[in-house]
């Protein structure tokens, strides 16, 4: 590549009035450092992103994110975020496939849908719009400490979540060590369309057995609780960040999370099958009202001559018996001064919840809790992706990300009677993720 000066002396270019900012950028490029003095007047840093998430035959989500950040001087930083997403498509009901067609009642009680023999029962009425707002304020406190406080608000059609958080961080050892502690309190309210199902109540399917619509409605209503329910969550986080050397940074976090309240998914059911594997009825799931989770997280970032390697591992365990391992790695290569590519690989593995059952057997005693939600079952998942980023001469940045995601649920040791042996009870979920983001 041959670089020659772009200037053309015979052409009178537009007069550059604020030479200083361009000169500051050239200075930083020359010295390879950020300015040692805080800029007099900082500007809002804005980030926008549009994300598409599409599962084959299932859920499609489109998400728009707008975030803004401003340093009001002396490390007093405000950041805000607005997320709007829409989800449409079909989601697994928890019922097992059958050789013959199955009829389901929609969660609202209004209408039915049919699933062909051999197909995974999916509820195709899944449709939601979510609005999320976040605001966070961070500033130095006392000596060598930073404090941060924030609020979070998220609203879906049938779900409302409000959360507050606060954290403290302190630097030691000439800023080479940072320890932090944080707490977050979340209050969620759920009021699903058609009411919350009564635990293990049988799905009422109108197959002509009712004298009239009113008789059907009475039967349906008997399976529902009308009022809303809620869930409170407390999260505690403790972290240590350590600069290992000029190129390496390491972080350890411990997280404790306990929630109390309604954890059940009101749209999920279990099939009750006979010893031939044929579905006899469908019952609504029920989950414990408490959950306590511990997570251990380790992350290392390493600066290479022309990029950054970032690898992390998380182990999480909870009193539902879901133990999970996550390995996440990103490797950023700077192609030039203004462009980079970043391959991404993530691997996830989890064990099944103690109350997870792919189906229930007819005639056996009902368990205290049960769910056939594949997300609580044994599974592995991986993500492979690539991100490309480019910085414009103006300093604004475009980034494009394309990823493939696959979840592979596994049989956690359940025998499959009769016809179920011929059917795929643990179908994989495949998704494509595409994102465009612009920072200015």
């Amino acid at each position: 590549m041959q670089l020659t000066s772009q200037s053309n002396l015979t052409k009178q270019t537009k007069k550059i009035t604020n030479v200083n900012s361009a000169l500051a950028a050239a200075t930083c490029a020359l010295l390879g450092s950020a300015s040692v003095v805080q800029a007099e007047e900082s500007v809002w840093e804005m980030d926008t992103a549009l994300l598409y998430y599409g599962e084959t035959d299932r859920v499609t989500a489109v998400e728009g994110v707008f975030s803004a950040k401003k340093d009001f001087g002396d490390e007093h930083v405000f950041s805000g975020k607005l997320v709007l997403d829409t989800l449409t498509g079909a989601s697994a009901t928890g019922a097992v496939s059958q050789p013959n067609a199955q009829t389901f009642t929609r969660p609202s009680g209004k209408g039915q849908y049919e699933i062909n023999g051999g197909d995974v029962p999916l509820d195709d009425t899944f449709k939601d719009t979510r609005l999320q707002l976040e605001a966070q304020w961070t500033q130095p406190l006392w000596d060598d400490m930073r404090g941060s406080a924030g609020v979070h608000f998220s609203k879906e059609y049938d779900y409302l979540s409000v959360a507050v958080n606060g954290s403290l961080a302190r630097d030691f050892n000439q800023k080479n060590t940072t320890i932090s502690a944080g707490v977050s309190l979340a209050f969620d309210t759920i009021d699903p369309e058609g009411g919350r199902p009564v635990a293990f109540s049988e799905m009422v399917v109108n197959q002509g057995q009712f004298a009239n619509d009113q008789a059907y409605q009475v039967a349906f209503d008997a399976t529902r609780q009308k009022d809303s329910d809620d869930k409170n969550t407390i999260d505690l986080m403790f972290g240590v960040t350590q600069v290992i050397n000029r190129r390496m940074l390491m972080q350890f976090n411990y997280g404790y999370s306990t929630s109390d309240g309604y954890h059940t998914d009101p749209f999920k059911v279990l099939s009750i099958v006979n010893d031939q594997g044929v579905t006899q009825s469908l019952v609504h799931e029920d989950r414990p009202t408490e959950r306590t989770r511990h997570s251990f997280y380790w992350q290392t970032k390493y600066a290479l001559d022309s990029g950054v390697a970032d690898i992390s591992y998380r182990y999480a365990t909870d009193d539902w018996d879901i133990n999970s391992h996550t390995i996440d790695s990103r490797l950023r290569f700077n192609i030039s001064d203004n462009t980079y590519i970043q391959p991404h690989f993530r691997y996830y593995q989890q064990g099944a919840a103690e109350f997870y059952q792919p189906f229930l057997m007819e005639g056996s005693m009902l368990p205290t809790f049960a769910s056939a939600d594949y997300r609580l079952g044994e599974m592995t998942a991986y993500t492979v992706g690539l991100k490309y980023g480019m910085k414009m001469p103006s300093g604004n940045e475009w980034a494009f990300r394309l990823e493939y995601y696959q979840q592979d649920p596994k049989n956690a040791g359940f025998d499959e009677p009769g016809v179920l042996q011929q059917l795929d009870l643990y179908p994989s979920v495949k998704a494509v993720i595409a994102q465009i983001s612009y920072s200015f």
Partner: protein, 298 residues
């Protein structure tokens, strides 16, 4: 051996390291009472400054600069640091619309600013003009190609660059120490002092054609001065400043005698001061537009 090339003096609340480099008195002020640390930092700054001087001085015969300037139209090999400096010079050329040009040093053979009335003939100046023009220079990460009659001169940025490099080394080695690097009035303060008090630094200030000393207060960042009241020519009552216009080969008219600028980095301050001198009569309005602190002397 090396300890003889610089001196260390303990003051009330700081230590001063002194040496001479780049034809300037160089001072390192350190907010510490630790003589060993002060000695080490001064030694670091000294060797870094000497390294830059040895590499880029155009007065030496067997350094990188000589190699480039005597390349006779052939590509000369450069390293990464030189490439960064060339890119910086390129940005300055564009930002100044061609007025800041590191190939204009050849004019010095015609213009000797010794206070005399030796104005060169227009033929002499004209003969040199073909060797000027940054846009004619080709360079990439590995090499640079100059035309036969051209020369590069980092004189306009070299000292400020050395100040920033020395400051960067001190910051890296002693991240919590306030250090002032002052090379003949081109200054960088690595970070504010512990008590947030400013450093008081004496700089030469041109007044009534004689140099006096003025105390400047600086908390953090860079400071640089361009212009020199003692370097001029005077003929038929007209004063010719030593700031030359690479487009005409003649001094810029009506420019201030000297400009001092404060900016985050010394080299940035130095360039703003030089670019303002190149604006001639419009120097002050140019400086106002940059939204920076400056002192202009006419």
């Amino acid at each position: 051996m090396e300890s003889e090339s610089f001196s260390i003096v303990q003051q009330n609340d700081h230590i001063v390291g002194r040496f001479t480099a780049m034809a300037s008195p160089c001072e390192i002020l350190l907010e510490t009472q630790d003589l060993i640390l002060a000695n080490h930092l001064t030694s670091l700054a000294y060797s870094e400054t000497k390294r830059i001087e040895q590499k880029f001085s155009r007065y030496l015969s067997n350094n990188l600069m000589a190699n480039i300037n005597h390349s006779e139209g052939q590509p000369a090999v450069i390293d990464e640091e030189t490439f960064r400096l060339l890119q910086f010079a390129d940005s300055c050329f564009e930002l100044s619309e061609g007025q800041f040009d590191i190939t204009s040093g050849v004019l010095r053979s015609a213009w000797k600013f010794d206070g005399s009335d030796n104005i060169p003939t227009s033929e002499t100046v004209k003969a040199l003009m073909s060797g000027i023009g940054w846009h004619k220079v080709k360079f990439d990460k590995k090499s640079i190609t100059l035309a036969k009659d051209m020369e590069l001169d980092f004189g306009g940025i070299g000292k400020e660059y050395a100040v920033d490099c020395a400051a960067k080394l001190c910051s890296k080695y002693a991240p919590n120490l306030s250090v002032v690097i002052n090379f003949g009035g081109d200054i960088q303060v690595t970070q504010p002092r512990k008590n947030k008090q400013p450093w008081n630094i004496a700089i030469e200030s041109p007044e009534a054609n004689k140099a006096t000393t003025k105390i400047l207060q600086i908390v953090s960042g860079g400071l640089a001065t361009s212009g020199d009241a003692r370097r001029f020519l005077l003929k038929n009552g007209k004063r010719y400043s030593h700031i030359l216009n690479p487009k005409t080969g003649y001094p810029i008219e009506n420019s201030p005698r000297s400009v001092t600028v404060a900016a985050p980095h010394c080299i940035q301050a130095g360039l703003l001061a030089t670019l303002s001198l190149l604006q001639g009569a419009n120097a002050e309005s140019f400086l106002h537009q940059q939204g920076i602190k400056f002192w202009c002397y006419r």
